[in-house]
């Protein structure tokens, strides 16, 4: 099992550690609900050091608008990505997906655009697959030494501003700056549905420490999951995978249970008495105080009532639009 540079910090905080995609990661510290609410109401900090960070020079990727791309590689973005990246301005970030020839999803990634390169933030579970694809296609890449720490929640701006000038960073943009004496990348991104930042640093321990000192609550994978479900964000291996195409993934929908039973991954969904789909992720929502799930269900519309089979009993649920939770902009 691999350990992130923050492993010892998690142990000091008595985190419950679990194996996740080859890494030992904290699933919770004080309790999932408490951590979840800290992010919704104040600020939480997450170790995201398991995510893979790759760098690809624009000239090696054969960007559409790249004058130097004459070595026969040509337009890789059209062949392996769901969205083009060659039109991105430096300092911008775009959510993207790596697809295979048949448009099945190999990974979902964030692409950070620099003047001469892009930085790809890859799911830990897919790092080997992504590297293999790049290698197979003869696209040179470099593995970055940067590790991400995520600060999330309505108080993130106040906390981050006390450490660096982040006033210019709009949503899905980043800056390169100095933080605690290290050159870092700070982006306004996250996986919780709240305002927040992700800090890519070669030295995460002092960043982690200072964020805790400033009042951010340490949060584990458990809260990360409940927060991203409320925010309607897909997680690789659940909502999207190598057996789902980019087009099919757009049919993802939300359901809210009408009783307290909790829909879990792979539970069957019935519509008009017919087996019509399945749950991809479900949880009790600490914010909405009801059980929710994301699902693929054939032929349903928002407002329809469906039934989820939970331990041999069918429980009613309403089909809703994603996301379940949207923050109010202050």
């Amino acid at each position: 099992m691999k350990q992130t540079p923050l492993f010892e910090e998690h142990k000091k905080l008595n985190a419950r550690m679990v194996p996740f995609a080859g890494w030992m990661m904290p699933v919770l510290y004080s309790g999932i609900t408490r951590e979840h609410n800290a992010v919704r109401e104040h600020a939480g900090v997450f170790d995201v050091g398991h995510m893979g960070v790759l760098e690809i020079r624009n000239s090696d990727f054969g960007m559409r608008n790249d004058q130097n791309a004459e070595c026969g590689i040509g337009n890789w973005e059209d062949k392996i990505l769901s969205r083009k990246i060659s039109d991105m301005q430096a300092g911008r970030i775009r959510y993207n997906r790596i697809l295979n020839e048949n448009r099945f999803i190999i990974d979902d990634i964030l692409v950070y655009a620099f003047e001469n390169k892009t930085m790809w933030v890859v799911n830990a579970v897919n790092m080997d697959n992504v590297k293999k694809i790049l290698t197979d296609k003869n696209i040179p890449f470099r593995e970055s030494n940067l590790k991400a720490v995520a600060l999330q929640g309505p108080d993130s701006d106040k906390i981050m501003s006390s450490l660096a000038d982040v006033s210019e960073i709009k949503y899905y943009r980043f800056i390169e700056t100095e933080l605690l004496g290290e050159k870092v990348i700070i982006s306004r991104t996250g996986y919780t549905g709240e305002d927040g930042f992700e800090i890519y640093t070669p030295n995460p321990v002092p960043v982690w420490d200072v964020l805790l000192q400033k009042g951010a609550v340490p949060c584990g994978l458990g809260a990360r999951d409940t927060l991203r479900i409320e925010a309607g964000m897909p997680l690789y291996g659940h909502e999207i995978s190598q057996s789902i195409t980019e087009e099919d993934s757009k049919k993802l929908i939300g359901i809210e249970m009408l009783d307290r039973a909790i829909p879990r991954e792979d539970y069957t969904v019935f519509f008009s008495g017919v087996k019509s789909g399945y749950v991809t992720s479900g949880t009790y929502s600490p914010t909405l105080k009801k059980a929710i799930a994301m699902a693929y269900i054939d032929m349903v519309n928002v407002g329809d009532t469906v039934e989820v089979e939970i331990r041999d009993q069918r429980h009613p649920a309403r089909v809703v639009k994603l996301p379940f939770y949207k923050r109010t902009i202050r």
Partner: protein, 132 residues
């Protein structure tokens, strides 16, 4: 963080407790179990009047991330279920041995209590790395 192991109940390997009150038994899950599970958000209770065998499934307790089957430490007939758990399942976290009881039953066989552990034995069971 310190866990409670009251001595007026008996314990099962699967982390249920049972309190014998004459011909009746009160059943719940232990402090250790609730702490392992974390925030409990749903409890599925059996039907009233149901006959349950020892070690048969009694119900289901779900936390945010986990699902846990509750097995009956003794056999008997369900005489009462804790209705409060429907709307406030978190009372299992707050008070696992008192307010957070799960069912009451008319004892089927009082001798079955001999299969269970005392508080000391249960603590030892946990320290030996009880994971099942």
């Amino acid at each position: 963080m310190s866990q409670e192991f009251p001595t007026d109940v008996m314990y099962s390997k699967e982390h249920e407790w049972v309190k014998i009150e004459g011909e009746n038994a009160v059943i719940g899950i232990t402090d250790w179990a609730q702490e392992e599970m974390g925030d409990i958000v749903f409890v599925e209770l059996p039907d009233l009047g149901k006959d349950i065998e020892q070690m048969e499934e009694l119900g289901v307790v779900e936390s945010v991330k986990t699902i846990s089957t509750v097995y009956s430490p003794v056999s008997g007939e369900i005489t009462e279920i804790n209705e409060q758990l429907q709307d406030t399942p978190e009372i299992i976290n707050e008070s696992p041995y008192e307010d957070g009881w799960i069912v009451k039953m008319a004892l089927g066989d009082a001798n079955e209590v001999d299969d269970l552990m005392t508080a000391d034995e249960y603590q030892e069971h946990i320290q030996n790395g009880a994971e099942e």
